[in-house]
């Protein structure tokens, strides 16, 4: 595994995985801004990730694109690359790198739980596992997202004269919340912040069931009573949110596990809905991967490193530039 360094760079063939600065060849795990950036020469990713990058940064955000299907092998010299579903958001992938019989998996961001908005996570056996650790503490044990979304629906029923603004990341989480609402037979139009529109249209085009949605417009205030509005978290504190009648501020995120965090951010209805694995899923994945060497990237790596060492696994944190904890989508 010496072929890859702590910046996820393979010097031998000049390939980066999720680099934050423009590079020659970049393998991109998924479309979130802390992984997919503008300006690479050559981007290798799933078709959906490439589509999403083009929606966000324009058609010319890289000079050349190579779309890969899940499971399709791509070779550069004696390195073989294969993408597998990561279950994080639409198009998200893990990267399997094979070289001289050594199998290394970079999970990227992933979750094990079921999600109708993307292909479900596939476990890959390997020798070295580079795993994320966004929720790498035993306090994070995500509840069933169905129960969380029911809380929202109940609150909408009880508070008829309020509108509910749900903070959710524009890519992935927003559409997942919409899909979860549809699974619970919530059939009303869902109103969305303008910045979500193109991505929602894309999800619809990809046949993800997010139902009927409409961009928020300057309607009479009372129009939004009893409605659900989805907006990126940054809009919650913005002047934007003041145009709505008695808004109840909600947030869909794994961080909402911690009441103090919810309170700090002024969230009245926290919904613990995460697109990352929780503690038990991280441990389970490490165990089932059969990897003997575990490297841990962004998030709460300390506890996970400690745990792996206790299991007699070789483990250390990788500190990747530009990704401090708690700023991750």
């Amino acid at each position: 595994m010496d072929f890859i360094n702590h910046q996820l760079f393979i010097k031998d063939i000049n390939v980066h995985i999720d680099p934050i600065f423009p590079k020659k060849t970049a393998i991109i795990t998924h479309g979130h801004a802390d992984h997919a950036r503008f300006g690479h020469d050559h981007v290798i990713a799933t078709r959906q990730t490439i589509d999403i990058m083009k929606i966000r940064y324009g058609d010319k955000c890289a000079k050349k694109f190579t779309p890969l299907k899940y499971g399709q092998k791509y070779s550069i010299k004696n390195y073989d690359f294969t993408l597998y579903p990561a279950g994080h958001i639409l198009g998200s992938a893990q990267v399997l790198i094979e070289k001289n019989n050594h199998r290394l998996v970079i999970t990227g961001d992933y979750k094990v739980g079921k999600d109708e908005t993307c292909k479900n996570f596939k476990l890959i056996k390997c020798d070295t596992l580079i795993t994320e650790a966004t929720f790498g503490l035993p306090i994070f044990q995500h509840p069933d997202p169905k129960d969380e979304i029911k809380k929202l629906i109940r609150s909408v029923k009880i508070n008829k004269y309020n509108c509910h603004i749900v903070g959710a990341y524009a890519l992935g989480k927003a559409q997942r919340v919409m899909n979860l609402l549809r699974q619970q037979k919530y059939n009303e139009t869902i109103y969305i912040h303008g910045s979500l529109e193109k991505l929602c249209q894309y999800y619809s085009k990809e046949k993800i069931n997010i139902g009927k949605f409409e961009k928020v417009s300057s309607k009479d205030k009372s129009f939004y009573e009893g409605k659900i509005i989805i907006a990126p978290p940054s809009a919650l504190k913005d002047r934007w949110s003041r145009r709505f009648p008695n808004p109840i501020i909600c947030m869909a995120s794994g961080w909402m596990t911690v009441k103090q965090r919810a309170k700090q951010q002024g969230i009245e209805l926290p919904l613990v809905i995460s697109d990352h694995s929780d503690w038990n899923e991280l441990l389970d994945t490490i165990k089932k991967s059969n990897a003997k060497n575990i490297l841990i990237t962004h998030g709460q790596e300390d506890a996970l490193v400690y745990y792996c060492k206790k299991q007699n696994l070789v483990s250390k944190p990788l500190s990747i530039q530009g990704r401090s904890d708690e700023e991750i989508e």
Binding site: L137, P138, I139, Q260, K263, I267, E268, Q300, A303, K310
Partner: protein, 522 residues
Amino acid sequence: MKKFSSLLHNLILTPSRNTKIKLLQDYFKILDINRAYALAILSDQLSFQFIKASKLKELVYEQVDQHLFDYSYDYVGDLAETISLIWPTNKEGKSQNLSTLIENIKKIKKSEINIEFSKVLSELSNNERWTLIKICTGGLRIGVSERLVKNALADLYNKSVNEIEEIWHGLEFPYENLFQWLRNETSKPKIDFKKLFHPMMLANPIDEEKDFKRLNASEFQAEYKWDGIRVQLMVSSKTVSLYSRTGDNISSAFPEIIENTKGDAVIDGELLVGRNFKPSGFNDLQQRLNRKKASKDLQEKFPVFIRAYDILFYKGKDLRKLFLYERRKYLEKFQKENKTNQIDLSLTIKFKTWKELTKYKNNVHDDLNEGVMIKLKNSEYLPGRKKGYWYKWKKNPKLVDAILMYAQRGHGKRSSYYSDFTFGVWKENELVPIGKAYSGYTDKELLILDKFIRNNTTNKFGPVREVKKEIILEVAFDDVFPSSRHKSGVAMRFPRIHRIRWDKLVNDVINIDQFKKEFKIE
């Protein structure tokens, strides 16, 4: 328990006062024994003797790996929440109501606490566990004041909040008389006001720029502000009792006061340590605090007395509606009639202008006063921190430049930030920590420091981060004492971060010997 824990959960997350009141009113629509417990909990009057933070940690270490717990606690910054989240989830037991649960816990024998209390925790949901631990450790911090609860009750049952306020401290669990009155079944509960702790009148800090332009010096009386603990002394022919500022009865810790005081009055004053009414400093007073009893030896070594500020009752007469200058006459009369070695009067300072008062504020009485109090002569004795009557004017703090050495995440509302800072000065070629501060900085400075710490960590010791030694902090503190418990040999009183000194370099910082010399420490 489900209802009460979801009430607390909603209260903590609701920023709106009106919504909080509405939530409380929904809950207190019924007045039963569960609500009585809830009221006791919300007004912080219920506590468990043997389930404290240290016991809870002991229990959680039996359930989960200690290191994993410590990492988590460091991240969450709230003990109750960390334990409730990390506790292994069992099958939830039969849901119990609040009163049954508490009564059952009270019945647990001390020798069986580990097993029995763990069992209780295992059978609760996350949120109920959080609630129960909050109840056990006291101090809910859910953004609900006692006053808000009273307001909600008054409004719900058509009473005036002042009426509730008046009888509040005379009420006792399970509040049957209160509940009956609220439901209009009986008249207002009768309370013996003389025996009651009366909420104290508190002062606001003065705003030197605004207030001194606005306020007329001749309408005010000034006294020294003493650095002891504020107390209320109740004296009658039958009993003498002493209360702390929060209304706790602390009589048993100060027998010399209880035995020697005479008369019939309620006195407001400052408890100090010293001989012949000469206070000897907070360090000495500390020897007498947080003790249930005081041995003869301790009384001899650290004798206490009360410096009286005010009088609330005199021979059964309620003086609280009188003005301060009128009450002062009663106070002097009381003192003359009942001279003892345990009570003297707080001196009033003669001054004509605010400027003149400045010299009294700074450096008089060998540094033992903290500044001055400025009180409106025409002020009634009003409970709480009402604006416009009493002001405190603290003397300028002592200042020292020190180097940021270590940082740790804060607790509660600062838990996501590195907000606890350890700083030090030179000792030969090394740095030695002289104190730790977690306040004083602005929000902007906190963000800068937090970012610096994340990007400049050189070492980690569990939750503590050691950082590059390049940030100079100007630290303000009230006082500094010799201490054998600290490596530096000094202990600061109330250190806080005054500002970041971007203009200074690490080599500008003094060494520990210079520090001791400057602040006169042996």
